[in-house]
Structure formats: structure tokens, C-alpha cells
């Protein structure tokens, strides 16, 4: 049986699909956040070097991962929208940007709170911190460019170009701790080698990461739904929706 992959590239049918998926991801996010935070605060042992302050990694590391993944996702969707002229992919890219910016800010903020007791300073001009800050600027640039353009089609395409140009920053952030041997420690978790941390800490961090994914997907879907309604408000299928009065 051939599956029609393009069915859900139509905003109208995706709106319904998103409506079904949002509760699932929201519930998953709530449960995983509860479990992850419980492990983070009560189960994971105290670090012998860093004391209790290390516990901020349970939100810092997932937030930093998300900030990079979401930028790549945003650039990919924007690129697909630019190349194939699909409306929905561009809407997804627009919906991802604020969540990505939020995670970038969260990674910087929690990093600063962690840095004060550990490094004795809120901020250092270290390669990874600086490139993460540039990432925040890129998100802000993307959002303000789209906000400044009235025509949504032009906004989508212009945003796509700037998102794709900015994607060069992602490998720089990711490898910055390897290329420049600066204050920010190297990656503790990697796919190729066994993790250099206690198993419970790792479990907690991975659960928190999945929770962040679920949260991000839920929020992005809600925002996509809103964007779809906003842009399609003159169509007949929107006026036939229950609970939406125009």
C-alpha cells in the first residue's frame, strides 16, 4: 500500500494531526521532567569535586544540546521551504526559532549560575560561551528579520537564507572545546567512548534531554498550529473549525 507522504504537508491536515500529537508530547514531557528532576535532585550522588552545584547540568547540558539541534532543525525546515516552496516547512522553521532562542538563553543563564561557584566568575570570553552567545544573536536576527517583513512568503524565504548562512556556527560551537583548549570543559558524554560520569547522573541527564525534546516538540506544534490559523484565516476550512471564531 502506498502511503501518501505529502498528505500532512498541507497545513489543513497537519493542523488536525498536530492537535492529536500535542497532548501526547505534553504528557510525556511532564512525566519525564518529573522523573528527571527527581533523579537529578534526590537519586544522583553528590559530586566529590563540585559538591551540590553540579546538579545544574541536568538542565544546562540538555538546554545547550537543544539550542544547537533546534537551530539545525530550523535551518533544515527553512531550507526545505526555500527549495521546494512548501508552506508548512517554513511555518515550522518560524515556530522553532523562539523555542531555540529560549534554550540558548537558558544554557547561557544556567552556565553563568554554575560558573560563579565553580570558576569564580559569571562570564568568561571562552570560545564555547562566545559561540553560544553568537547563536543567540543568530536566533534574534532570524526572528527580527521575519518580523520586519510584512509579506509572509518573503519573510519565510529571507529567513531561510539567513538561517542557512548562520548554520556554519553550529560546528564551531560543537567543536570549540576541542579546537581551543579553554576554560569550558570538554564533552563528558560522547557516542564513541564510555561516559565519564556515574550511571545515575547519566540516566538523569538523558531523561532530562528527552523531556526537553518532548517539551520542545509540544510547544513547536502549538506554535505551528497558531501560525497556520493566522495565515489561513481567510480559508473555508478554518472558518469551519470548531472553537475558532473569526
Amino acid at each position: 500500500m502506498a502511503i501518501n507522504w505529502f498528505k500532512y504537508s498541507s497545513p489543513a491536515s497537519f493542523y488536525v494531526l498536530a492537535g492529536k500529537m500535542i497532548p501526547l508530547f505534553s504528557i510525556a514531557a511532564t512525566i519525564l521532567f518529573a522523573v528527571g528532576l527527581y533523579i537529578g535532585f534526590f537519586v544522583a550522588p553528590t559530586d566529590f569535586q563540585q559538591g551540590e552545584a553540579y546538579r545544574i547540568i541536568f538542565i544546562h547540558v540538555p538546554a545547550a544540546w537543544m539550542s544547537m539541534f533546534l537551530y539545525v532543525m530550523m535551518a533544515v525546515w527553512a531550507g526545505i521551504g526555500l527549495a521546494f516552496n512548501t508552506r508548512l516547512s517554513s511555518m515550522m522553521a518560524t515556530a522553532i526559532a523562539p523555542t531555540g532562542a529560549m534554550f540558548t538563553f537558558l544554557a547561557l543563564w544556567t552556565g553563568a549560575i554554575w560558573g560563579k561557584p565553580m570558576w569564580g566568575t559569571w562570564w568568561v570570553w571562552d570560545a564555547r560561551l562566545t559561540s553560544e552567545l553568537i547563536l543567540l544573536f543568530l536566533y534574534i536576527g532570524f526572528m527580527s528579520l521575519q518580523a520586519a517583513i510584512d509579506d509572509p512568503r518573503r519573510a519565510d524565504k529571507a529567513g531561510a537564507v539567513i538561517a542557512l548562512v548562520g548554520v556554519v556556527n553550529i560546528p564551531i560551537i560543537y567543536f570549540s572545546v576541542k579546537w581551543w583548549n579553554t576554560l569550558h570543559q570538554g564533552a563528558t558524554v560522547s557516542v564513541t567512548s564510555s561516559p565519564k560520569m556515574a550511571a545515575t547522573m547519566l540516566t538523569g541527564m538523558l531523561i532530562m534531554s528527552i523531556a526537553c525534546w518532548m517539551y520542545a516538540i509540544a510547544v513547536i506544534l502549538i506554535r505551528t498550529q497558531t501560525i497556520i490559523l493566522e495565515r489561513e484565516r481567510h480559508t473555508s476550512w478554518v472558518s469551519e473549525l470548531k472553537g475558532v471564531s473569526s
Binding site: I134, F137, I140, G141, S144, L145, A148, V161, I162, N169
Partner: protein, 219 residues
């Protein structure tokens, strides 16, 4: 084809010389403001000099970006360029190069004089000039993308800085870093090679991205 555009843009710039001079004087004034702001301590100024000159070059190059396409956009020349059978990327490359010749080259020529104000050694002056020579074309090329994307938008001038300045940061880091590395005795070779790599990469990719952006903006 690019040469024709360069020639034309240079001719237009020469007819309105004040525009060129404004950018240059902006650069000189910004660099001269720093000693007044932070005090005339020579040791501090010497360590600050490369960063200050580079930041001023970044701002000067960025402020003149608006002129790259806007006058052609207003009088319809840009539309003719878009529908012409010539490759738009080559035309755009010509425009970016003309922008560099008009705004970048004067800054490069002026920078040794400003470096002397900051009491830089001869070696440091040479490296500073070399880094600006390699870096300022990158600024024009990257800036062209921002200028094309914000063409005809309200508040385009502020917006272009938000788009372009984050992308300028690597050039700033390695440009100013080259001088610092050579003063520290490490040699500026690595930094200058990276700047050269940025130049080559942006020379290939930026005209293409700018051409795409222009088509989006002119639709």
C-alpha cells in the same frame, strides 16, 4: 561582467565623493574616540589598538552597506540587472568588490596612521594592515547578503546590523587576534591563513547567497 559593474559603481562613487569620505571619517573618529574615553595610558592603548581598529572597521563597513543596493533599487537598475541574461552572482560579486574598493581600501590605507596614534610597533602595524586587507573584503561580501535581505524594508538600517554583525564576529576575532599573536611572539601566520580561508569561502558562497536574497527581495 563583474568588471563592468565595478567600473560603473566606482564612477558613481567618484561623482559623489562625500559618501566615501563620510565612511572614512566615521572610521577615524571612532578610533580616535577610544583614547578620550578610556584615558591616554599608552600601555593599555597599545593592547587595545587592534581590537579598536577592527571594531571601527566593522562598524564603518556595516554603516555603508545600505548604499550597496538601495540606489540601484530605487531607480530600477537593480530590476534590469535581475532580468538581464548575465549571471546575477557575478554582478553581485562586482557590486561587493566595488563596495570594498570604496569603503574597505581607504580604511586599510588609513589604519597604519591610526595605529601610530596607538603607538603600535612597525611589525604590529604591518600585521594590522595585512589583516585588514584580508578581512575587509570578507566584511563587504558577508554584508552584501544582509543588504540584499533587508532591501526596501522599514528600519532596514538597524536590522542589517542585527543580521550582519554576528556573522562578522569570526573575522573580528581572527583579525584582531593576528596582531595580538604577533605582539605576543607567536607569529600571525595561523590567524592570517584563517582570514584568507574566510575570504576564499565567502568569495565563493556569498555572491550566490546574495543573488538568491536579491531575487527573494525583488519578487
Amino acid at each position: 561582467m563583474s568588471l563592468w559593474v565595478i567600473q560603473r559603481d566606482l564612477l558613481l562613487a567618484m561623482r559623489r565623493r562625500s559618501d566615501v569620505l563620510t565612511t572614512l571619517f566615521f572610521f577615524i573618529i571612532v578610533v580616535s574616540l577610544f583614547p578620550l574615553g578610556v584615558g591616554p595610558e599608552m600601555n593599555m592603548l597599545r593592547t587595545m589598538a587592534p581590537g579598536v581598529v577592527w571594531v571601527a572597521a566593522l562598524l564603518a563597513s556595516m554603516l555603508s552597506l545600505g548604499r550597496m543596493f538601495s540606489s540601484d533599487y530605487l531607480d530600477g537598475t537593480l530590476e534590469q540587472m535581475l532580468i538581464s541574461p548575465q549571471s546575477l552572482s557575478m554582478l553581485v560579486l562586482g557590486k561587493a568588490m566595488a563596495h570594498w574598493l570604496v569603503t574597505g581600501v581607504p580604511l586599510v590605507l588609513m589604519s597604519p596612521v591610526l595605529g601610530i596614534q596607538y603607538d603600535l610597533s612597525t611589525d604590529a602595524l604591518l600585521i594590522l594592515t595585512a589583516s585588514l586587507l584580508l578581512g575587509t573584503p570578507v566584511l563587504s561580501l558577508i554584508g552584501a547578503i544582509g543588504a540584499a535581505l533587508t532591501l526596501g524594508l522599514r528600519g532596514g538600517g538597524v536590522l542589517v546590523s542585527l543580521l550582519v554583525l554576528p556573522l562578522y564576529i569570526p573575522v573580528l576575532i581572527f583579525g584582531a587576534g593576528a596582531v595580538e599573536a604577533s605582539t605576543a611572539g607567536l607569529g600571525a601566520g595561523a590567524h592570517l591563513s584563517l582570514l584568507g580561508a574566510f575570504l576564499l569561502a565567502s568569495l565563493v558562497l556569498s555572491p550566490w547567497a546574495t543573488a538568491v536574497s536579491l531575487r527573494i527581495s525583488m519578487e
